[in-house]
């Protein structure tokens, strides 16, 4: 385990150079450049906002759109890292056939690229939450959301350091899942299609377009309690929006679940790293 990580550290220059390349290629010859990383979440937010803000957000579009974009940014990172990460070993086959590099490096390449991408979206979320939520530059009209999304303004910026451990946990978790799925995808190439379907389902099972309390009030607690994605939303999105630090219990749950994923990933790597080359 330590060995695997030190091996990745040894090739950090290689990894960083490739991540830089990926980022540059992604935005090359595009008019919006880095703006593309925002287009998808913003477009989704606008659409959902138009359709659902009356239904889910009590007509309070400022709070609802911020809530949506924040959820979408976190969710988008987890989904894209998993979907892109599961192709990492196949995409880097030519390197694998040439040098014995640690396999975690290839998934890290993908996930780190996605993370940088998502941090831009997160930055927009912070600015938006600060400006649109009550207490910020604009005073909201209309009734507040049930869970009481009150602060904004400077409070949002104060929350940024408190959210950092959550971001780190999400990053590690995404890396672990991507690694597991990348190995699975080598053996069963329909893994990526299954993940696509799975992500679609998870999106609606996760309190992103609706609020957790709306489900809880209807006695559907299990949807949230059994859904690990809501852990990361609770650690990243909710503090930014409510101005309240996550409870230690939630933090412990998030750390515990992430540790579980990391353990699984190392298990898979240890189990398959000597065999996967024969299946590529």
């Amino acid at each position: 385990m330590i060995q695997h990580l030190t091996a990745i550290w040894k090739y950090r220059h290689f990894l960083l150079a490739l991540i830089r390349l990926d980022l540059r290629l992604r935005y090359r010859r595009s008019v919006f450049g880095i703006g593309w990383s925002l287009l998808n979440p913003i477009a989704m937010t606008v659409v959902f906002c138009l359709v659902f803000s009356g239904l889910m957000g009590n007509g309070n579009w400022r709070a609802y759109s911020t809530y949506l974009l924040a959820g979408m940014a976190v969710w988008g990172f987890l989904r894209d890292s998993t979907l892109a990460g599961c192709r990492a070993l196949l995409a880097n086959e030519s390197y694998i056939r040439q040098s014995p590099l640690p396999f975690g490096l290839y998934t890290l390449r993908t996930v780190a690229g996605q993370a940088i991408h998502s941090l831009i979206a997160m930055a927009v979320v912070v600015v938006m939450a600060s400006a649109l939520l009550p207490g910020g530059l604009n005073i909201l009209q209309g009734p507040p959301l049930p869970s009481g999304l009150t602060p904004g303004g400077w409070r949002t910026f104060e929350m940024v350091p408190i959210v950092l451990p959550g971001l780190l946990l999400a990053f590690v978790a995404a890396w672990a899942v991507a690694t597991i799925m990348a190995f699975a995808n080598v053996y069963f190439q329909d893994t990526q299609h299954l993940l696509d379907v799975g992500a679609q389902i998870m999106f609606f099972l996760t309190p992103i377009i609706y609020e957790a309390d709306q489900l809880r009030s209807r006695g559907m607690n299990w949807v949230i309690d059994l859904n690990p994605v809501s852990l990361y939303l609770g650690l990243i999105r909710d503090p930014l929006l409510t101005g309240q630090a996550p409870s230690l219990t939630l933090f412990a749950q998030g750390a515990g679940f992430t540790a579980l994923l990391v353990g699984l990933a190392f298990g898979v790597v240890g189990w398959l790293q000597k065999r996967v080359i024969f299946h590529l």
Binding site: K10, Y11, H13, F14, A17, L18, L21, L25, S94, Y95, I96, R97, Q98, S99, P100, L101, Y187, F188, Q189, D190, T191, L194, K274, R275, I277, F278, H279
Partner: protein
Amino acid sequence: MAKIELNDVGLTFTIRQNKHVTLKEYLVRGLLFKSVAQPGLSVRALSGLTLRVADGDRLGVIGHNGAGKSTLLKLLAGIYPPTAGVCAVEGRVCSLFDITLGFEPEASGWENITYRAYLQGESPASLKRKMAGIAEFSELGDFLDVPVRYYSAGMMMRLAFSIATAIEPEILLIDEVLSTGDLSFHNKAKARMAEMMSTARMMVLVAHDLDTVRSVCNRAVWLQHGSIAREGTPDEVVDAYVRSVNGGRDPSPHVGGVTAATALAAA
């Protein structure tokens, strides 16, 4: 201290009818037909290899196509893990085979030099010193600013060879079937290889040109069906190999065989 130690190493590939099984197929077959295990064909690429290469050794590997020579190199490079036995390789390895693999097609030649050099374990500081040398050796000039996607196979080969040979390896693994572009570059590449062979602390060379084995190596092994048929001094092993090629399995030399052998060796 460079060291290669193979202890009773075996490597078995399992070849499947379909390269990839889908999960759906796997489940359907498992549930309905109860025969998940696909009838894979086992191919023993290497078996029972015991080999020690010490500092200063220049080992030549000869044998028929499919005898396991390239597989042995890949095993030593750490790309294939052994499926049996223990394979210990210590030292900085430089492998000269499949070197055109793993270019980033969208990146320029310069950038690919960086990636490849980092992949071979260079640091930004040590690369800086070598960068100009690599570029010069490749003779690609302004083409280095162009994405590698637009390179011809020969240009790719030049770039790959220039990078791969820029490091000072402790263990040098070479597949001789390395074609190195046009004639002028080929001669230059040959000189560079000769230089590397003389400076590397240890070398394993897979060769079809038996003369090279005689002149460069101080030890040789003859691989047959994945195991060592003969091991010893280059002359001894090459002679035995040539005899078997010419005279079937008959090891005793006869006049016709010897002349043919010398002709083959000279070719």
